[in-house]
């Protein structure tokens, strides 16, 4: 057996040997070439069917990824939209908070307006006159009013007592200094009209001065009362 292998490996030169060697060399050559080819380009060795299948798979994959991208974009747009509307809602809420704070009188404010000073050495001015004065200011669009050291708000009241005038429970004495923020022209016209509140006050013997100012400061603030009785109606309770 090993003799035959040895014989096989012994160099011989014949026509058939050369032909066989040539054929084997051809195989080696082709195999080497084929292996190189495979390494160089794996696609070119695929058959038409396989390429079509590959193309289909890639197409499906592209479709899937496109759908995913679209849905993600929609999510992103949705989230951005949410953020925008939330910011808008917050801005509106802040605006509301500011307006309500001013109306409730819990924050100091400043702006154009008027200052009315009522000198009343004889104590002839009645609470009713001050109420009328405040009402006229409100009618004329005053956004914030202060009477001496008291901030006037929606729940403010003025009453006549034996000792003089009380505003929101605080005893007040002349001179009465009323500051109001609003259009100075509108406010002064409302107060100074013939037969108006200031002429009525002057008729009692008091003197009034009215200044229109570009910047009136109203520093007095109120503390919001605790609600004892009133409750907000929830939307689902309404129906």
């Amino acid at each position: 057996m090993w003799d035959r292998v040895r014989v096989l490996l012994r160099p011989r030169l014949s026509r058939t040997q050369v032909v066989v060697a040539f054929l084997v060399a051809l195989v080696g050559f082709s195999a080497a070439t084929q292996i190189q080819q495979d390494e160089a380009d794996s696609l070119s060795s695929l058959s038409q069917t396989e390429l079509v299948r590959l193309l289909d798979e890639i197409g499906t994959r592209i479709d899937d990824l496109s759908a995913e991208r679209d849905s993600l974009r929609a999510d992103l747009a949705q989230l951005r939209n949410d953020v925008t509307s939330q910011e808008a809602a917050r801005a509106a809420a802040e605006e509301q908070l500011m307006v309500r704070s001013v109306q409730a009188g819990v924050v100091p404010v400043h702006g154009p307006g008027i200052v009315v000073t009522v000198e009343d050495p004889r104590g002839a001015v009645r609470a009713q006159s001050l109420v009328t004065l405040i009402e006229e200011l409100r009618n004329a669009g005053a956004e914030a009013i202060q009477l001496n050291s008291v901030r006037i708000s929606t729940t403010s009241w003025v009453s006549q007592t034996d000792d003089g005038i009380e505003v929101d429970g605080l005893s007040t004495s002349p001179p009465y200094r009323v500051s109001a923020i609003g259009s100075p022209d509108a406010l002064s016209v409302a107060l100074e009209m013939p037969g108006g509140v200031l002429s009525a006050i002057r008729a009692t013997g008091a003197t009034t001065t009215l200044q229109e100012l570009d910047d009136v400061r109203i520093e007095a603030v109120r503390v919001l009362p605790d609600l004892v009785h009133a409750r907000v109606v929830e939307p689902d309770e309404e129906g």
């Binding site: 057996m1 035959r4 096989l8 084997v24 060399a25 082709s30 195999a31 070439t33 084929q34 396989e50």
Partner: protein
């Protein structure tokens, strides 16, 4: 001996020259190589069985290669090219294994 030298020369040539396989030939070359491998293993087995014939080897080599390529070509024309390639490779692979087993029995007596 000359055969081994031929094989080495062929491989080296292929690696050095790096020829481009023509596109029309590309599906058939791998099959042709497997068929040639089969013929070579068959030849080695025949030699160890002491029935080797140069004539048989050369003709079987060429015919195997051509028929394998033709079968795959036919398969491509019929639209079952890849399956036909697989079939040919399986058949030739079985033959190669059988030949290799026979050669192993000759060499190792087991």
């Amino acid at each position: 001996m000359l055969v081994a030298v031929g094989l080495v020369i062929g491989v080296i040539l292929g690696l050095v020259v790096q020829p481009t396989i023509p596109a029309g030939l590309q599906p058939y070359l791998p099959i042709a190589i497997v068929a040639a491998l089969d013929a070579m293993f068959g030849a080695l087995r025949a030699y160890l069985d002491e029935v080797f014939s140069d004539r048989v080897f050369i003709t079987s080599f060429i015919f195997n290669v051509l028929i394998a390529a033709f079968i795959v070509f036919l398969g491509d024309q019929l639209g079952v090219g890849s399956q036909m390639t697989t079939a040919v490779v399986v058949v030739l692979g079985i033959r190669i294994f059988a030949n290799a087993a026979a050669i192993r029995r000759h060499i190792f007596k087991a």
